[in-house]
């Protein structure tokens, strides 16, 4: 029997069996995640990423294209409190002022343009000093509820472990750890776990998939 081929076959089967779910609710964790995906994806490890790309993710780094990305961003934006804030403070006034700027002639149009710019600056400040200080401590629990209703989409039965990349995702991870006693739920991205697998896939990252799959 060709033992080399047999060993390679075992490694491939193992690689096919390896699947991890990463949970990222804060965009700051994305560079770390992408570095990890770039390391393990060529070794055949399948990575599914759950992101909450709601408010504040406009300028976020894209997730590496080799990972499957599921998003609850829209669900987050549709929460009554968040939706009301965004609509009443940001979107509606912005839309009205934009339209006025385009439609009103002369001085009135210019005044509307000025008002739109002032509004844009003010909403930025309000987000930083009012919206986030209130929403930040509540967000992990809000996202736990949203993600908790969509656990099936993550295919946890086929996952070896779940990696929680940021503090915002901890309540969701803690809930998973308690709901699925056999599932490993950790904060560590451990590349060494897959060091034994040979690099079989392309090392160049394909274009990032965006928009992500909404669940």
């Amino acid at each position: 029997m060709d033992t080399k081929r047999s060993a390679a076959g075992t490694a491939e089967r193992e690689a096919a069996a390896r699947r991890e779910v990463a949970v990222v609710f804060k965009k700051g964790a994305l560079p770390r995640l992408n570095e990890y995906v770039a390391e393990v994806a060529p070794r055949g490890v399948e990575v599914t990423v759950l992101v909450a790309n709601g408010p504040g993710w406009r300028k976020a780094e894209k997730v590496d294209g080799r990972a499957q990305v599921l998003s609850i961003g829209r669900r987050e934006n549709r929460q009554p409190g968040v939706w009301l804030y965004l609509m009443a403070v940001e979107r509606a006034p912005r839309a009205v002022l934009k339209r006025l700027e385009q439609r009103l002639p002369g001085k009135a149009g210019r005044a509307a343009g000025r008002a739109r710019r002032i509004h844009r600056k003010a909403t930025g400040k309000l987000r930083t000093w009012v919206f986030w200080p209130v929403y930040r401590p509540l967000r992990p629990q809000a996202l736990r509820r949203i993600a908790g209703r969509r656990v099936e989409a993550l295919g946890l039965a086929r996952a070896d472990r779940v990696v929680i990349l940021d503090e915002g995702a901890v309540p969701f991870g803690w809930m998973l750890a308690n709901r699925f006693p056999g599932l490993e739920v950790t904060r560590t991205l451990d590349k060494k776990r897959h060091e034994d697998l040979p690099v079989t896939g392309p090392t160049e990252a394909p274009e990032a998939r965006d928009p992500y799959i909404r669940i």
């Binding site: 390391e39 992990p140 803690w174 750890a177 950790t186 560590t188 060494k192």
Partner: protein, 442 residues
Amino acid sequence: MSAERPRLLYLAYYFPPSRASGVFRARATANHFAEQGWDVTVLRAPDRFFYDIIRSVDEALVETIDPRVTVLQPEMDFFAWENDLRDYSFWRGNFPVLAQKRYQRRLDRTFPEHYVTWAENAVKTGRRLHREQPFDLVVATGNPFASFWAAWELERRTKVPFVIDYRDSWTLDQFGNTDKFPPGHAAWRWEAEIHRTASAAVHVNDALRAWHAAKYPFAADRMQVVLNGWDPDIMDAEAIASAPDEARPLSFAFIGTLTHVQPIESLLEGHRLLAESGAHPGAGLDLYGHIGFFSSQEMKLRAELGLDRERPGVAYRGPVPKSEIGTAYAASDVLVFLNGGSKYVTTGKVFEYMATGKPIVSVHEKGCAAEELLRDYPLWFEPASLDPADVAAAMADAGDAARKADPDTAARARAYARSFTREAALAPFEQWARELVARKAR
């Protein structure tokens, strides 16, 4: 002084079974004081930290601790290191932001290091032991510097004098020669405060002592240097043959921990040029030791150091337990002293290298603290620069010296190294500590 055996409480977070580079100084200090008749109690990190958190252990080292030394493990909070969400409490699992804030407030209130919970428990343990039988002296070694805080706190509560032993600097970046903390950071305040009350601050070389003396002039007269050294009980230097086997190609070897601050590319390129020149046909470069201080860094560092790809003649031989370090030295013909190169960094390895009596090639920036020690070593080869061609030339010269194998030169080299044993380094400090304790008792 308590009866005829003075009592020492030694706060050494990294202590065997840890394999961190600093444990050898801590191990030697505890053993030396016990040997000199002190009743030594060591407080170290809990096993869980070494086995589960940093996974950096060499159990053979535990056997080298003097049986008269009592070793205790105060507990600690693993908040900063807990990664398995099943270990999280209900509070942390549901309110991670608030839990983090509360934890941070606790650090801000006491001492700005994650190890402070260990230090708090070390203080409790120290006070309990002191009530049972008083200590005469507390020695704290850092890092972590929370052990300095524990010694300071113990002095405040029990009036037992304390000494701080800097294995590394706290507020100075030794490699970058810059401040580690921004102005106003709590570390500055704590370092000054601790210097005010410490009976002495001990440093591993004079450059570090001078830097601290300039920073804290009010404590300058209480600062002293205790060099690192090599451990004859771990490495039998006399048993290591210095003449290479004529039948095989030379082995150039680095023995130690590989880190990102070392100019490894100069070494690897230098070795390649040496092989191309044909000066020492087939000469190999063997790298012994761990890659990085923590197992979690290994893979990243391996790629950063360029060790993830095959290089002709270069072999990464992996870590060697300290008890078998003599085997690695015996298998090497020329030792490569690869170092981050800073006037503040001596490294303990240089003493071991000298003890072998083998040729040593330096691969580090000029001005490294170890140069002071190597200058009088008769088999030291220093390249003109870190340019690979210069490194290759120095390696070739060192290879020639190894092949020549002059027994007189090797004997002179060993004789020089004998003045750098741990005992030789620690003896004056132990004597000073004994006098301090006697003075306080009067």
